[in-house]
């Protein structure tokens, strides 16, 4: 076996001696069930959804052990691509899936084994949130969500019954602002390069995401018309970088940030009043009593989504356990946990049972909070009477302009990005 599994054979041999040998030849259900507690599934992914609370709850509800490793998105990509034997479950973003799937390290999942498959939000199936929504640019999840069969290596255009990733978590990102220091309404992405905010703007130094924010800005300024922001030509990349390099040299940016904490500190200290930001970072600034808004903009949001993929070397009992885990994941508890942090669950309706009416109203329906809103860890996030920035689920996810993407010209873009940082 390529992967010594959890010592299932070894441990049960020690424990039950000959009985275990009998079990492998004549699998008796009793023994299988008993061994569930010996199963260990190794999951790795970005910090967003690799939560210890989830592992704890899995042990409680399903009986097996889930080992979590949190890495940054570059390391996640690298590991999924180069070390297939080091994980059982990969919790990755859809654009990472586009990069990693061709390596054959992940296996497609049979949707008929997913109990809540029919309830998964349309974005991840047909690509449409509602039957009449338009599909955004970039690596939209449904474009890399399906393959033709269990061994498929190329992505299918429609639902096939074989999914690459089971969607777990997603959100719509926009610019964060300090309303108290700006003092006027902000409505467009173009404001990021407005000279009014010279030396007070910031953008994130993660090329694959930063380039999309740049594209949103350049398009909003009317400087560039992109064929597809999620798959730029070399010419479009050059033009985008030129605009931002000029702005950088004119001192538009105070700093660039790479980690969550940096973005929080830049905003909280008032060094920066407008910047690309992630939803929980806004929450972190607010929790220090500093006003900060996740500003909805007329051009729409830049969205991202993550899902769970299964290692291709997963089989037998571990594979069954992984399916159990996925079904459990979509059954609501995790969804509720994530939604109370401001993310969205792939099957929102199951999460509803795990949220109070007030929480559901605030986070999903965009209603006024009727009581204090707290995070799963107990921090106060909003007072009664407050409304979520951007409104309801359908308002926010309905106005996604592009998805995080990996382009055909990715390596070229990365080099240009490096030059931009050094310029």
């Amino acid at each position: 076996m390529a992967k010594p599994k959890v010592g299932y054979t070894r441990r049960s041999l020690l424990k039950a001696g000959g009985a275990a040998v009998a079990a492998t030849t004549l699998p008796a259900p009793m023994l299988w069930a008993q061994d569930t507690k010996d199963i260990v599934l190794r999951q790795f992914g970005t910090g967003v959804s690799n939560l210890n609370d989830v592992a704890k709850k899995v042990k409680e509800d399903l009986g097996f052990t889930l080992e979590m490793t949190a890495l940054d998105s570059d390391s996640v990509t690298q590991r999924a691509a180069t070390q297939p034997d080091s994980f059982d479950i990969a919790d990755i973003e859809y654009w990472i899936c586009k990069k990693v799937w061709p390596t054959g390290n992940l296996q497609a999942m049979d949707t008929s084994k997913i109990a809540n498959y029919d309830k998964i939000v349309g974005i991840f199936r047909s690509g449409k949130l509602t039957p009449d929504s338009e599909i955004a640019q970039g690596t939209a999840p449904h474009t890399v969500g399906f393959v033709d069969g269990p061994g498929g290596t190329s992505f299918a255009d429609e639902e096939t019954g074989w999914m690459t990733l089971i969607p777990t978590i997603y959100n719509a990102d926009t610019l964060g602002i300090r309303p108290d220091l700006i003092g006027r309404p902000i409505e467009t992405w173009a404001e990021l390069l407005n000279p009014e905010f010279k030396g007070k703007a910031s953008i994130l130094d993660i090329s694959s995401i930063g380039i999309m924010d740049m594209a949103m800005v350049c398009e909003a300024m009317g400087e560039i018309q992109y064929g597809d922001k999620g798959n730029m030509t070399r010419d479009e990349i050059d033009k985008t970088m030129a605009i931002f390099t000029e702005a950088k040299q004119n001192g538009q940016f105070r700093a660039f940030w790479k980690t969550f904490d940096e973005s929080v500190n830049l905003m909280a200290s008032g060094e920066v009043v407008i910047q690309s930001m992630w939803s929980p970072a806004i929450t972190a600034v607010k929790s220090r009593g500093i006003p900060c808004v996740y500003q909805p903009l007329k051009e729409g949001y830049r969205s991202w989504g993550g899902g769970i993929g299964l290692s291709s070397s997963l089989s037998g009992m571990e594979l069954d356990a992984a399916y159990d885990y996925i079904n459990w994941y979509l059954s609501g508890w995790v969804g509720g946990y994530l939604m109370r942090q401001g993310y969205y669950s792939a099957v929102p309706e199951t999460s509803k049972d795990f949220m109070t009416e007030n929480e559901w109203g605030y986070w999903f329906e965009g209603k006024e909070a009727t009581d204090v809103i707290t995070s799963p860890t107990g921090d106060k996030l909003a007072e009664a009477g407050e409304v979520r920035d951007g409104g309801s689920f359908y308002d926010r996810m309905g106005s996604v302009a592009c998805w995080n993407a990996v382009m055909d010209e990715n390596q070229y873009m990365v080099r240009k990005w490096n030059e931009f940082i050094a310029a």
């Binding site: 390596t103 130094d205 090329s207 940016f253 700093a255 200290s269 080099r415 050094a422």
Partner: protein, 288 residues
């Protein structure tokens, strides 16, 4: 018969040198050779493959950014060196010649090392709230009426980068200079005095030449530390400036190991050349 003891002595000598050679081979030579080999490899988006190609070097030498970044790195090294030398020499001079009692000298020397009891990341980051737009420095200056508007260039600029470098690395200058100064024979200073030299002449003609090895060792420390740094530049410039270290760390983050290795090889050569030039001026070995 005479050959046997000689041979044994050779064997013994080699054996005694063996542990160090093995350590150096395994932990110094082998990794460098590895880096040099990988620098010729190719990379896709998520993997590297063995090859012998000059693509990485071609791209490196073909990009104007490379020259700019190497220029910036040398600039940081030069300015930091000049400032740490000025401060380090003054501090060492004070400790060695103005403070008379040995106990006091040791006590004051230990005081110099206090900042090193915390991690250098913390020492670096603590500048950020101090220098920020609404930081202590700006607020104090405004309350004194020196300035009306906060000074923007205090943080996330070349100024803040060099300030952090000087703060972090001055001690590496103080220690070797202090060490050589302590070994200067005091009677030489008296002789200079007797021959009519004033304080400044003694400093320039006696102390400075005798302190050169210390200065040189300090210089090597500071120059190599600054040229190899990436984290100080990233934090203190808010990712707005780049040096070679950052170029390498960006490549690594994007899984472009061969390209990072090529940059590392070029950086290594640059640093070795700088040190070779420095060693032409002073024979350190003679003084150790």
């Amino acid at each position: 018969m005479a050959a046997t003891p000689l041979k044994n002595r050779h064997v013994l000598g080699w054996l005694m040198a063996l542990p160090l050679s093995v350590v150096l081979l395994a932990f110094l030579i082998a990794p460098i050779v590895m880096i040099a080999i990988v620098s010729f490899w190719g990379a896709t988006e998520f993997s590297i493959y063995p090859a012998f190609q000059f693509d990485n070097y071609e791209f490196l030498f073909g990009s104007p950014v490379t020259y700019k970044v190497f220029g910036a790195t040398l600039k940081y090294a030069l300015i930091t060196w000049a400032l740490t030398l000025a401060i380090g020499f003054t501090v060492a001079y004070f400790l060695a010649f103005h403070v008379r009692s040995l106990t006091m000298q040791i006590a004051l020397f230990l005081v110099c090392t206090i900042p090193f009891w915390t991690s250098n990341i913390i020492r670096m980051i603590s500048w950020i709230p101090f220098l920020g737009r609404n930081g202590i420095a700006n607020q104090t200056l405004i309350s004194w009426g020196v300035i009306d508007e906060p000074l923007e260039w205090l943080l996330y600029s070349d100024f803040s980068v060099i300030l952090a470098f000087v703060h972090l690395y001055t001690l590496f200058m103080v220690v070797p200079i202090f060490n050589t100064m302590m070994r200067i024979d005091k009677s030489l200073l008296e002789a200079a005095r007797d021959n009519g030299a004033n304080g400044f002449q003694t400093l320039v003609h006696v102390i400075l030449p005798l302190t050169k090895p210390g200065i040189m060792i300090g210089t090597i420390f500071v120059v190599t530390l600054v040229m190899g740094d990436f984290i100080t530049v990233r934090f203190m410039s808010g990712s707005q400036r780049a040096n070679v270290g950052r170029l390498i760390s960006n490549d690594i983050a994007l899984l472009q190991y061969p390209s990072a290795a090529a940059t590392a090889v070029v950086l290594l050569c640059t640093v070795l050349i700088v040190i070779a030039i420095l060693l032409r001026f002073v024979n350190i070995r003679k003084e150790l």
